[in-house]
């Protein structure tokens, strides 16, 4: 029973992390119909920001997530201004290819500047800390990340559904032209949404060097899993992203332990296939 609880807990906490990575992508995809292939690389950049702040200025990831979130917010806003703006309203393939190019550029800049070396922050506040709940062990870095995930998702949800800004974002997502006729500056909304999406993944990346090594390839698999979550949860649906992320975390942990560790990604992507075959718009897609 202890092992089962441990596996479930690990799955939930991994799911929360995936949710935090995916929520930004979901937001961008839902509002702008833009598939951001650079999402995993945004995560990687945020991890580097957090790492260097820790390495040079000894700022712990527990605090540097603020800086990495802000950095990726501006990076994403800049990306919108320089690249995405010119693809909005064009065939979906153009934004997809543009962000794919962006991902290559970002990855190769990091390879060039920081080399492919794996970098670990040692002696972080949370590093190696665990909480014992009976025989069940809770990893503190993952627990804190999970709590941040819930907080960020709640904040994004409140912004989208309970504020005037959120209503304008929803209006822009539903009918851009009608929103413009109502006086909404959709350009600014898009800019803000792209920035917000970046900030979410920036916060996730900022926290992760507490327990994960940083290197130019680190965002690739996270980016892929984020796509799966967004597609499963439904484009633009924050509760959908949370549900899908938790489901993926659980499937990964349960299949990894009870079937075979090597089977865990097979199960995750298999589940994704089944969901999109039965419900192509995902759990909560509109």
């Amino acid at each position: 029973m202890t092992i089962f609880l441990q596996v479930i807990l690990d799955g939930l906490m991994n799911g929360m992390l995936y949710a935090l990575v995916a929520v930004g992508l979901s937001l961008i995809w839902g509002v702008m119909d833009v598939i951001n292939f650079g999402h995993g690389e945004f995560l990687m950049i945020a991890m580097y920001v957090s790492y260097w702040l820790g390495f040079i200025f000894h700022i712990d990831p527990l605090f540097s997530w603020l800086a990495s979130g802000a950095f990726v917010f501006f990076l994403a806003a800049l990306t919108y201004q320089l690249i995405i703006k010119h693809t909005v309203g064009k065939p979906p393939l153009s934004s997809l290819l543009a962000t794919f190019g962006l991902a290559m550029v970002l990855k190769n800049i990091c390879l060039n500047r920081f080399s492919p070396n794996f970098r670990l922050l040692s002696d972080t506040v949370l590093g190696g800390k665990v909480l014992h709940m009976g025989d069940v062990i809770v990893s503190m870095p993952q627990l804190i990340t999970a709590l941040f995930s819930l907080a960020v998702m709640a904040m994004v949800y409140v912004i989208i559904h309970r504020t005037r800004l959120g209503w304008t974002i929803q209006a822009t997502a539903m009918d851009k032209e009608a929103a413009e006729l109502m006086g909404i500056n959709t350009e600014k909304i898009y800019l803000l949404v792209f920035g917000m999406g970046g900030a979410c993944v920036g916060i996730a990346g900022g926290l992760m060097p507490s327990y994960l090594a940083v290197h130019p390839e680190v965002g690739t698999l996270f980016g892929l899993i984020a796509f799966v979550i967004v597609a499963m949860g439904g484009f633009g649906s924050i509760p959908g992203a949370l549900l899908a992320a938790l489901l993926i975390g659980l499937v990964e942990a349960l299949s990894g332990f009870y079937i075979a560790p090597v089977f865990k990604y097979v199960a995750v992507f298999g589940l994704y296939l089944v969901v999109v075959m039965i419900r192509p718009k995902g759990f909560f897609g509109w």
């Binding site: 092992i3 441990q6 596996v7 690990d10 991994n14 390879l111 080399s115 492919p116 070396n117 794996f118 970098r119 670990l120 040692s122 002696d123 190696g128 665990v130 062990i137 990893s139 993952q142 327990y211 994960l212 090594a213 290197h215 130019p216 390839e217 680190v218 690739t220 698999l221 996270f222 899993i225 990964e252 942990a253 299949s255 990894g256 332990f257 075979a260 560790p261 090597v262 865990k264 990604y265």
Partner: protein
């Protein structure tokens, strides 16, 4: 207008002709042997690949220039075959077998390299060396450890490092010694390895050695390299709680494995690693105290200076070629050995004829001060039968020699101390 055009054409043709004439004598004078290197310069094993590349560059530096103070064959002379110098062409296989195969073809077909040195990942070495074998050209393999590579009956493939088979046998010998002399009660073994050519072969050899020597494999865990977490893997290990774990995890996967074991507050009594992240001094430094008490096969580390005195002077050159500057590690040094042995064979054969160089490689025992064994000799299939490694244990961040006993300098800490270290 026509006259102007004619003059331009005339001048252009004249210029090309003159440049062509100038180029002919220079290329005829230059005696160059092009050697290709094929390593993962990007991707998850890039750090190791870049060090391997720097290692070949170091060996080439030693061969091409005169280093009277270096006690390595060919160091005291300039170049080979009375005036040839070696030029290196580097290629990146990204850790991908298909890329490795096509890059090997490019190196031979377009770059016209004489031989290839590589490829770190056994999974890439396999198809890349197939290209060389088909072309009847030499492939020098430094550190790829899959035993299968030298069991294919290839004629042009030569490997310097010990294989996973050798290391697996060493691992079980250490287990037997710990049981007999130290009464450690080691019975069960778990395997965790990346699901690749390297990892799978290491695990196969490990399982065979364990079973043949009366121990029992209780858990067998392949994992996907570059995973986002290794929770299920470590949870499975913890649930089965083997006395000994054989690990084959490279680079960032190794750090993730160690960190996850710490997070789950579990350790086996003994953790023995194949040529993995364990041997990487940078990863060891980054892991700090968490790296301590892990064990593994090691062909070289700076702590072996007393056993391999010729290395220090070569290592100085190598450290200038690496960023951040690091000493040789167990894998990278084998690539320098590969380059030096090939150069010695060319020099001894007195020709660049592939058949003669190949036969010379097989027919001789080569001086190799950069190898722990001190010499290199090849059996049919290309395995270096003089290849040696020691079992080391990380203690206070240093690789301490613990087995075989005649080369040991420290007693092992077994069982590994718990994570709550003072």
């Amino acid at each position: 207008m026509k006259i102007v055009l004619k003059r331009i054409v005339f001048l252009g043709v004249g210029l090309i002709f003159t440049l062509g004439l100038m180029a002919v004598p220079s290329s005829a004078e230059e005696k160059v042997i092009k050697i290709g290197t094929l390593f993962p310069l990007t991707g998850s094993c890039a750090l190791a690949g870049q060090r391997c590349q720097a290692s070949v560059d170091t060996a080439v530096d030693v061969i091409n220039n005169v280093y009277a103070d270096i006690d390595v064959p060919l160091a005291a002379q300039k170049g080979l075959l009375d005036g040839y110098r070696i030029e290196v062409v580097h290629a990146d296989h990204q850790g991908k077998p298909d890329v490795g195969k096509s890059e090997a073809e490019r190196l031979f077909n377009q770059e016209k390299v004489y031989a290839i040195i590589g490829s770190y990942n056994s999974a890439v070495t396999k198809p890349a060396s197939f290209v060389a074998e088909r072309k009847k050209k030499i492939f020098m393999c430094g550190c790829s450890s899959s035993a299968a590579l030298t069991k294919r009956g290839y004629q042009y493939f030569f490997r310097m490092a010990p294989t996973d088979e050798t290391e697996s046998l060493e691992f079980v010998e250490v287990m037997k010694w710990l049981n007999e002399k130290h009464e450690k009660g080691l019975v069960t073994v778990g395997l965790i390895y990346e699901n690749s050519e390297f990892g799978k072969h290491a695990a196969d050899e490990g399982k065979k050695a364990v079973k043949d020597n009366g121990f029992k494999v209780v858990v067998d865990i392949p994992f996907n390299p570059g995973a986002t977490n290794l929770n299920s893997e470590v949870q499975t290990l913890k649930a089965k709680n083997p006395d000994v774990v054989f690990g084959a995890c490279l680079g960032g996967d190794y750090t993730l494995w160690v960190k996850t074991m710490k997070q789950m507050n579990w350790l086996p009594k003994v953790a023995l690693n194949y040529c993995t992240g364990y041997q990487d001094p940078v990863i060891t430094k980054q892991l700090g105290d968490d790296a301590n008490y892990f064990m593994g096969g090691t062909g070289y580390s700076p702590e072996f200076a007393g056993l391999m005195p010729a290395v220090a002077a070569v290592e100085k050159i190598y450290m200038q070629k690496t960023d951040p500057s690091v000493p040789f590690d167990s894998d990278s040094i084998q690539e320098a050995v590969a380059m030096l042995i090939l150069a010695q064979a060319i020099e001894k054969a007195g020709t660049l004829d592939y058949e003669k160089v190949k036969e010379t490689l097989y027919a001789n025992t080569w001086e190799s001060p950069l190898s722990l064994g001190g010499k290199v000799a090849f059996s049919p299939g290309g395995q270096n039968i003089m290849a040696k490694s020691l079992i080391t244990q990380l203690q206070n961040g240093s690789y301490k020699r613990i087995y075989p006993l005649d080369l040991a300098d420290t007693k092992p800490v077994v069982p590994m101390t718990s994570w709550n270290r003072p």
